[in-house]
């Protein structure tokens, strides 16, 4: 695929890396939040629900700015992370991972929550009467049954993370090789004369990746659904 220049390759590679880590790291939290929202009743449930969905409603630039205030080197969380763990997020690719994860999180949680709500609680009761403790019921019954929801949520989140632009550019800027992801690269190419050709190539890559992800998730979800309908 020599038709992509090194700069373009870098952007594509970075986007995949960012999307991969953003999705992977948010998945356990996504399952936990979806489970809590679907099954538990607790004080502050509305607040949690609102917080999770906020990035979906806020302008992405606002989310990015809030992240910068909290996770920037002088932000309360950013300062703590740098002092305790040596982890710097602002203007680093790790920050792009955080921005992408936060923006993709509501989509992931929604899809998984729908999956959990569709699970027949009576099957979990049956598992309990067979001697399975709560954690085992979750791992051996609930989790396999919500697999289609998890697959769908993961695919949606990965696609969103690949294309995240507003919050990312506000939080971690647009540094080649560090934070210049695919959408940032397209944006940058369009800002300079003669950049249309590389921009168009990246657009083609974006479309191809999106279609591929969609097809893969569709196939996986269908396979998982077939497994659990018991046919």
């Amino acid at each position: 695929m020599s038709w992509l220049g090194p700069e373009e390759w870098q952007a594509v590679g970075l986007s995949i890396k960012v999307a991969f880590w953003a999705t992977l790291l948010s998945l356990p939290f996504g399952v936990l939040c979806a489970y809590a929202l679907a099954r538990w009743t607790f004080r502050g449930k509305m607040v949690l629900n609102g917080l999770i969905h906020l990035p979906l409603i806020l302008p992405p630039v606002v989310t990015g700015y809030l992240l910068l205030m909290a996770f920037g080197r002088r932000g309360p969380v950013g300062e703590f992370l740098e002092a305790q763990l040596g982890l710097v997020l602002a203007f680093r690719w790790t920050g792009a991972v955080l921005a992408a994860a936060v923006m993709a999180f509501p989509l992931m949680v929604r899809a998984i929550r729908l999956g959990i709500e569709a699970v027949d609680v009576r099957l979990e009761e049956a598992a309990a009467t067979l001697g399975a403790p709560a954690w085992a019921v979750f791992l051996t019954v609930t989790l396999p049954l919500i697999l289609p929801g998890i697959v769908a949520g993961t695919a949606l989140a990965a696609a969103k993370a690949m294309g995240e632009f507003g919050a990312t550019i506000t939080f971690v800027s647009n540094i080649p090789g560090e934070t210049r992801t695919l959408p940032s690269a397209i944006y940058s190419f369009l800002q300079v004369p003669g950049g249309e050709a590389p921009a168009l190539r990246l657009v083609a890559v974006s479309v191809a990746v999106a279609l591929l992800a969609l097809a893969a998730s569709e196939w996986l979800a269908r396979r998982a659904a077939r497994r659990i309908t018991g046919a």
């Binding site: 027949d120 009576r122 099957l123 009761e125 049956a126 598992a127 309990a128 009467t129 067979l130 001697g131 399975a132 403790p133 709560a134 085992a136 051996t140 019954v141 396999p144 049954l145 497994r227 659990i228 309908t229 018991g230 046919a231």
Partner: protein, 362 residues
């Protein structure tokens, strides 16, 4: 080995207040829908927490509101067979069976997967998914899965209610084998008299959230006071019997305490014990020993009690040998015959009146 249940629970206007013992064998929790049967079983299994009470099995207290004991369902070790089977759709039959075994306590005695598959006729189904099973097959797998969890006791909530008559008669023999071979106590919820008559050793009758009668099946089912709960068409006596002979003309001869009865051929060997159920409306009474009658079964009996209903009928309870018989006749006939407690009669029953489902091993 027994189950002690004593609980009170309210939801809305419905108040449940039950107290009974389930000894060895099959204890049927019998009553109409809405009488609280499923609530009791769910409380025993730990799926519902009663307001107050105590539940103990084999001397292990699983719930005691006074002592603040409330074991989680997975610690109670009751194998629960639900009306809707509840097989795990993501596992095949073998996987479902193995699931029971997986969380069974280490070292607990019990049948192996192969033995259970053999007992319930599941060998050919092991590779199938639950979606590809018939209702009867699903229920057999569910029973096997519950057995393999090595429970202290089996709970069955109307396991046959969702099945048609053919599937029912396919499963009943398996339940009898379970009762006779494993010795596992079973709490069996049902509103079907025929099922209860065939399977139960003990019957607990529930109505409106209360126990109205409890005791050995033969006694409870032949109690004229329970006609309302059982239903007038279904009222009848259950008598223990022993197969004495199979005749060439297609009839089987059985000995009961008060004589002998002929039934259409049943597939039990000579000497095997079983039960016959004789419905009250199939019994004709005669003061004199009848002659020249086509009915083969004529049993001498003594009237114990007459119970009048709101209609023109009378339920006559009789003693026949050491067993009880019930006959439903009109009040007019009762008066004409001069029936009263202590009067000797002859109970006449047509052989073909005893349907096959009413005959069971035990």
């Amino acid at each position: 080995m027994s189950l002690t249940v004593d609980l009170r629970h309210r939801f809305g206007a419905f108040a449940l207040e039950v107290d009974f013992e389930a000894p060895e064998g099959i204890t049927a929790l019998f009553g109409r829908s809405g009488s609280g049967k499923t609530t009791v079983v769910n409380a025993v299994a730990g799926l519902l927490r009663p307001d107050t009470g105590r539940i103990a099995v084999e001397g292990v207290t699983v719930f005691d509101s006074g002592a603040r004991v409330n074991l989680a369902p997975h610690r109670r070790r009751f194998g629960y067979v639900f009306q809707d089977a509840r097989l795990f759709p993501h596992l095949d039959v073998a996987g479902n069976l193995a699931y029971g075994l997986r969380f069974s306590p280490r070292g607990a005695a019990g049948a192996s997967l192969d033995e259970v598959a053999d007992l319930l006729g599941l060998e050919t189904l092991l590779g199938r998914r639950p979606g590809a099973l018939s209702g009867g097959e699903k229920q057999r797998v569910a029973i096997g899965r519950a057995l393999l969890s090595r429970p202290r006791m089996l709970l069955m909530d109307e396991p046959l209610a969702a099945l048609d008559a053919a599937r029912k008669s396919e499963i009943l023999p398996y339940l009898e084998r379970l009762r006779d071979r494993t010795g596992l106590p079973i709490l069996y919820v049902s509103h079907a008299v025929a099922e209860v008559a065939r399977l139960a050793t003990t019957v607990v009758v529930l109505e409106g959230g209360r126990v109205v009668q409890a005791g050995p099946a033969e006694q409870v089912l032949s109690d004229p006071a329970l006609v309302r709960q059982i239903g007038i068409r279904e009222a009848g006596a259950v008598l223990p019997a022993t197969v004495t002979r199979h005749h060439a003309d297609g009839l089987s001869e059985l000995a009961i305490s008060g004589g002998r009865v002929f039934l259409p051929q049943i597939d039990l060997a000579q000497g095997e014990r079983t039960r016959v159920r004789i419905l009250a409306h199939d019994v004709i009474l005669s003061r004199a020993a009848p002659e020249g009658l086509s009915a083969l079964n004529i049993l001498p009996a003594t009237v114990i009690a007459l119970r009048e209903g709101s209609g023109p009928g009378v339920m006559v309870q009789m003693k026949c040998g050491t067993d009880r018989l019930l006959a439903r006749i009109t009040r007019r006939s009762a008066d004409a015959l001069g029936l009263a407690p202590g009067v000797g009669v002859h109970a006449v029953i047509k052989s073909v009146s005893v349907a096959r489902i009413d005959v069971g091993g035990g």
